[in-house]
Protein backbone atom coordinates (compact mmCIF):
# COMPACT_ATOMS: atom_id res chain seq x y z
CA UNK A 1 0.00 0.00 0.00
CA UNK A 2 1.34 3.41 -0.98
CA UNK A 3 -0.06 6.77 0.10
CA UNK A 4 0.00 9.73 -2.25
CA UNK A 5 -0.78 13.30 -1.24
CA UNK A 6 -1.73 16.09 -3.58
CA UNK A 7 -1.76 19.67 -2.38
CA UNK A 8 -3.94 22.55 -3.56
CA UNK A 9 -4.57 26.07 -2.37
CA UNK A 10 -7.65 28.21 -2.34
CA UNK A 11 -8.75 31.44 -0.74
CA UNK A 12 -12.21 32.07 0.58
CA UNK A 13 -14.17 34.10 3.09
CA UNK A 14 -16.60 32.95 5.73
CA UNK A 15 -18.15 33.73 9.09
CA UNK A 16 -19.48 31.60 11.91
CA UNK A 17 -23.06 31.97 13.02
CA UNK A 18 -25.76 29.62 14.26
CA UNK A 19 -29.25 31.16 13.87
CA UNK A 20 -30.61 28.77 16.55
CA UNK A 21 -28.40 30.38 19.20
CA UNK A 22 -28.84 33.76 20.85
CA UNK A 23 -26.56 36.65 19.83
CA UNK A 24 -24.82 36.31 23.21
CA UNK A 25 -24.19 32.59 22.69
CA UNK A 26 -22.92 33.21 19.16
CA UNK A 27 -20.56 35.86 20.51
CA UNK A 28 -19.34 33.60 23.29
CA UNK A 29 -18.71 30.60 21.02
CA UNK A 30 -17.50 32.25 17.84
CA UNK A 31 -16.05 35.58 18.99
CA UNK A 32 -14.52 37.64 16.19
CA UNK A 33 -15.26 34.89 13.67
CA UNK A 34 -18.96 35.76 13.97
CA UNK A 35 -18.66 39.09 12.15
CA UNK A 36 -21.38 38.77 9.43
CA UNK A 37 -19.34 40.68 6.89
CA UNK A 38 -16.96 37.75 6.86
CA UNK A 39 -13.20 37.39 6.83
CA UNK A 40 -10.86 35.31 4.74
CA UNK A 41 -8.17 32.68 4.76
CA UNK A 42 -5.65 31.18 2.40
CA UNK A 43 -6.52 27.52 2.74
CA UNK A 44 -4.18 24.69 1.90
CA UNK A 45 -5.79 21.38 1.05
CA UNK A 46 -3.94 18.07 1.21
CA UNK A 47 -5.74 15.09 -0.25
CA UNK A 48 -4.19 11.69 0.48
CA UNK A 49 -5.19 8.62 -1.51
CA UNK A 50 -3.94 5.09 -0.99
CA UNK A 51 -3.66 2.00 -3.12
CA UNK A 52 -1.38 -0.60 -4.56
CA UNK A 53 1.12 0.53 -7.18
CA UNK A 54 -0.13 -0.51 -10.59
CA UNK A 55 2.54 -2.75 -12.14
CA UNK A 56 2.08 -1.34 -15.64
CA UNK A 57 1.99 2.39 -14.87
CA UNK A 58 3.89 2.48 -11.60
CA UNK A 59 1.13 4.78 -10.30
CA UNK A 60 -1.14 4.54 -7.29
CA UNK A 61 -3.42 7.01 -9.03
CA UNK A 62 -3.24 9.04 -12.22
CA UNK A 63 -2.19 12.42 -10.84
CA UNK A 64 -3.60 14.26 -13.80
CA UNK A 65 -7.06 12.84 -13.14
CA UNK A 66 -6.76 13.56 -9.42
CA UNK A 67 -5.81 17.13 -10.20
CA UNK A 68 -8.79 17.48 -12.55
CA UNK A 69 -11.14 16.21 -9.85
CA UNK A 70 -9.71 18.64 -7.29
CA UNK A 71 -9.96 21.52 -9.73
CA UNK A 72 -13.52 20.75 -10.74
CA UNK A 73 -15.03 19.59 -7.46
CA UNK A 74 -13.16 21.76 -4.98
CA UNK A 75 -11.29 24.73 -6.39
CA UNK A 76 -13.90 25.84 -8.92
CA UNK A 77 -16.53 25.70 -6.18
CA UNK A 78 -14.58 27.22 -3.28
CA UNK A 79 -11.76 29.41 -4.54
CA UNK A 80 -12.49 33.13 -4.17
CA UNK A 81 -15.97 32.47 -2.80
CA UNK A 82 -17.89 33.56 0.26
CA UNK A 83 -18.47 30.08 1.66
CA UNK A 84 -21.65 30.92 3.62
CA UNK A 85 -23.38 32.43 0.59
CA UNK A 86 -22.00 30.64 -2.43
CA UNK A 87 -21.40 27.02 -1.42
CA UNK A 88 -24.60 24.96 -0.97
CA UNK A 89 -23.26 22.85 1.92
CA UNK A 90 -22.90 25.98 4.01
CA UNK A 91 -26.38 27.36 3.56
CA UNK A 92 -27.23 25.23 6.61
CA UNK A 93 -23.90 24.19 8.11
CA UNK A 94 -21.37 26.53 9.65
CA UNK A 95 -18.27 26.72 7.40
CA UNK A 96 -15.79 25.76 10.08
CA UNK A 97 -12.58 24.06 9.01
CA UNK A 98 -14.08 20.81 10.34
CA UNK A 99 -17.15 21.08 8.11
CA UNK A 100 -15.00 22.20 5.19
CA UNK A 101 -12.86 19.05 5.46
CA UNK A 102 -16.02 16.89 5.56
CA UNK A 103 -17.58 18.73 2.59
CA UNK A 104 -14.42 18.32 0.51
CA UNK A 105 -14.30 14.60 1.35
CA UNK A 106 -17.93 14.22 0.25
CA UNK A 107 -17.27 16.11 -2.97
CA UNK A 108 -14.26 14.11 -4.12
CA UNK A 109 -14.80 10.65 -2.62
CA UNK A 110 -17.50 9.56 -5.13
CA UNK A 111 -15.41 10.78 -8.06
CA UNK A 112 -12.27 8.78 -7.33
CA UNK A 113 -11.74 5.60 -9.28
CA UNK A 114 -9.16 2.92 -8.44
CA UNK A 115 -7.58 4.79 -5.57
CA UNK A 116 -9.13 4.94 -2.12
CA UNK A 117 -9.43 8.26 -0.34
CA UNK A 118 -7.47 8.09 2.90
CA UNK A 119 -7.43 11.57 4.38
CA UNK A 120 -8.49 15.12 3.72
CA UNK A 121 -6.43 17.71 5.55
CA UNK A 122 -7.43 21.37 5.43
CA UNK A 123 -5.14 24.07 6.74
CA UNK A 124 -6.99 27.26 7.61
CA UNK A 125 -3.63 28.81 8.42
CA UNK A 126 -0.19 27.34 9.13
CA UNK A 127 -1.29 27.12 12.76
CA UNK A 128 -4.60 25.31 12.40
CA UNK A 129 -5.60 22.28 10.41
CA UNK A 130 -8.27 19.58 10.44
CA UNK A 131 -7.97 15.94 9.36
CA UNK A 132 -10.96 13.91 8.22
CA UNK A 133 -10.71 10.18 7.50
CA UNK A 134 -14.29 9.50 6.42
CA UNK A 135 -17.49 8.87 8.29
CA UNK A 136 -16.93 7.48 11.76
Amino acid sequence: MVYLTRKAEFSASHYYHNPDLTPEENQRIFGKSGNPNGHGHNYTLEVTVKGEVDSRSGFVVDLKKLKEILNREVLDALDHRFLNKEVPEFSRQIPTTENLAIAIWQRIQPKLQNAQLHRVRVYESPNLFVDFYGKA
Binding site: L128, V130, A136
Partner: protein
Amino acid sequence: MKAYLTRRYMFSASHRLHSKGMSDAENRETYGKCNNPHGHGHNYSLEVTVSGQVQSATGMVCNRMELDDFVGREILQKFDIQNLNLLPQFVDDVPTTENLCIALYDILQRGFTGAHLERVRLEETMMNSFEYAGGAEIRP
Protein backbone atom coordinates in the same frame (compact mmCIF):
# COMPACT_ATOMS: atom_id res chain seq x y z
CA MET B 1 -18.64 12.73 11.91
CA LYS B 2 -15.34 12.42 13.69
CA ALA B 3 -12.62 14.91 12.78
CA TYR B 4 -9.16 15.71 14.09
CA LEU B 5 -8.20 19.30 14.77
CA THR B 6 -4.60 20.39 15.17
CA ARG B 7 -3.48 23.74 16.48
CA ARG B 8 0.12 24.94 16.44
CA TYR B 9 1.79 27.11 19.06
CA MET B 10 5.32 28.47 19.30
CA PHE B 11 7.47 29.00 22.35
CA SER B 12 11.17 29.48 23.04
CA ALA B 13 13.11 28.06 25.93
CA SER B 14 16.58 27.09 27.00
CA HIS B 15 17.79 23.83 28.48
CA ARG B 16 20.82 21.75 29.24
CA LEU B 17 20.82 17.99 28.84
CA HIS B 18 22.55 16.56 31.87
CA SER B 19 21.61 13.45 33.78
CA LYS B 20 22.30 13.27 37.51
CA GLY B 21 22.65 9.51 37.12
CA MET B 22 25.72 9.77 34.89
CA SER B 23 29.29 10.92 35.43
CA ASP B 24 30.38 14.15 33.79
CA ALA B 25 32.27 12.15 31.18
CA GLU B 26 29.21 10.00 30.43
CA ASN B 27 27.04 13.11 30.16
CA ARG B 28 29.45 14.69 27.68
CA GLU B 29 29.57 11.49 25.68
CA THR B 30 25.80 11.02 25.71
CA TYR B 31 24.60 14.56 25.10
CA GLY B 32 27.56 16.15 23.29
CA LYS B 33 27.03 19.85 22.66
CA CYS B 34 23.67 19.69 24.45
CA ASN B 35 25.59 19.11 27.69
CA ASN B 36 27.24 22.56 27.52
CA PRO B 37 27.06 23.73 31.19
CA HIS B 38 25.59 27.10 30.27
CA GLY B 39 22.70 25.66 28.29
CA HIS B 40 21.30 26.65 24.92
CA GLY B 41 17.88 27.36 23.46
CA HIS B 42 15.33 26.40 20.83
CA ASN B 43 12.22 27.74 19.18
CA TYR B 44 9.77 24.96 19.85
CA SER B 45 6.73 24.33 17.71
CA LEU B 46 3.97 22.53 19.60
CA GLU B 47 1.12 20.83 17.74
CA VAL B 48 -1.89 19.79 19.79
CA THR B 49 -4.33 17.40 18.10
CA VAL B 50 -7.80 16.87 19.53
CA SER B 51 -10.55 14.71 18.10
CA GLY B 52 -14.26 14.20 18.41
CA GLN B 53 -17.58 14.38 16.67
CA VAL B 54 -18.23 17.65 14.85
CA GLN B 55 -21.03 19.21 16.90
CA SER B 56 -23.95 20.31 14.75
CA ALA B 57 -24.62 23.51 16.72
CA THR B 58 -21.09 24.84 16.34
CA GLY B 59 -19.57 22.92 13.42
CA MET B 60 -16.61 22.33 15.70
CA VAL B 61 -14.76 19.46 17.33
CA CYS B 62 -13.40 21.81 19.92
CA ASN B 63 -13.75 25.50 20.59
CA ARG B 64 -10.46 26.94 19.45
CA MET B 65 -10.69 29.91 21.83
CA GLU B 66 -10.98 27.51 24.80
CA LEU B 67 -7.96 25.55 23.58
CA ASP B 68 -5.97 28.76 23.03
CA ASP B 69 -6.89 29.99 26.51
CA PHE B 70 -5.83 26.73 28.11
CA VAL B 71 -2.55 26.39 26.22
CA GLY B 72 -1.79 30.07 26.75
CA ARG B 73 -2.37 29.84 30.51
CA GLU B 74 -1.01 26.38 31.31
CA ILE B 75 1.78 25.99 28.76
CA LEU B 76 2.94 29.16 27.02
CA GLN B 77 2.92 31.34 30.13
CA LYS B 78 4.87 28.68 32.04
CA PHE B 79 7.32 27.49 29.38
CA ASP B 80 7.91 30.40 26.99
CA ILE B 81 11.17 32.28 27.59
CA GLN B 82 12.09 29.99 30.47
CA ASN B 83 14.99 27.77 31.38
CA LEU B 84 13.42 24.31 31.28
CA ASN B 85 15.89 22.88 33.79
CA LEU B 86 14.45 25.18 36.45
CA LEU B 87 10.83 24.10 35.95
CA PRO B 88 9.14 21.65 38.35
CA GLN B 89 8.72 19.06 35.57
CA PHE B 90 12.47 18.77 35.20
CA VAL B 91 13.70 18.57 38.77
CA ASP B 92 14.41 14.87 38.20
CA ASP B 93 13.92 14.37 34.47
CA VAL B 94 16.31 15.58 31.79
CA PRO B 95 14.53 18.18 29.61
CA THR B 96 14.96 16.29 26.36
CA THR B 97 12.31 16.97 23.77
CA GLU B 98 10.95 13.48 24.47
CA ASN B 99 10.37 14.36 28.13
CA LEU B 100 9.07 17.82 27.25
CA CYS B 101 6.61 16.30 24.79
CA ILE B 102 5.34 13.91 27.49
CA ALA B 103 5.13 16.71 30.07
CA LEU B 104 3.06 18.89 27.74
CA TYR B 105 0.79 15.97 26.85
CA ASP B 106 0.24 15.32 30.57
CA ILE B 107 -0.70 18.96 31.22
CA LEU B 108 -3.28 18.85 28.42
CA GLN B 109 -4.55 15.40 29.34
CA ARG B 110 -5.08 16.37 32.99
CA GLY B 111 -6.48 19.83 32.52
CA PHE B 112 -8.13 20.35 29.15
CA THR B 113 -11.73 19.19 29.10
CA GLY B 114 -12.89 20.78 25.83
CA ALA B 115 -12.20 17.75 23.60
CA HIS B 116 -10.48 14.38 23.51
CA LEU B 117 -6.69 14.82 23.38
CA GLU B 118 -5.35 12.71 20.54
CA ARG B 119 -1.64 13.49 20.50
CA VAL B 120 1.05 16.10 20.99
CA ARG B 121 3.77 16.72 18.44
CA LEU B 122 6.76 18.84 19.34
CA GLU B 123 9.42 20.16 16.97
CA GLU B 124 12.68 21.13 18.60
CA THR B 125 14.20 22.28 15.34
CA MET B 126 13.14 21.91 11.72
CA MET B 127 15.23 18.76 11.66
CA ASN B 128 13.60 16.81 14.48
CA SER B 129 10.22 16.30 16.04
CA PHE B 130 8.61 14.03 18.62
CA GLU B 131 5.09 12.72 19.05
CA TYR B 132 3.32 11.33 22.10
CA ALA B 133 -0.18 9.95 22.49
CA GLY B 134 -0.12 8.86 26.12
CA GLY B 135 1.90 5.79 25.24
CA ALA B 136 -0.61 4.60 22.62
CA GLU B 137 0.12 3.99 18.95
CA ILE B 138 -0.31 7.09 16.80
CA ARG B 139 -3.38 6.49 14.65
CA PRO B 140 -5.00 6.57 12.18
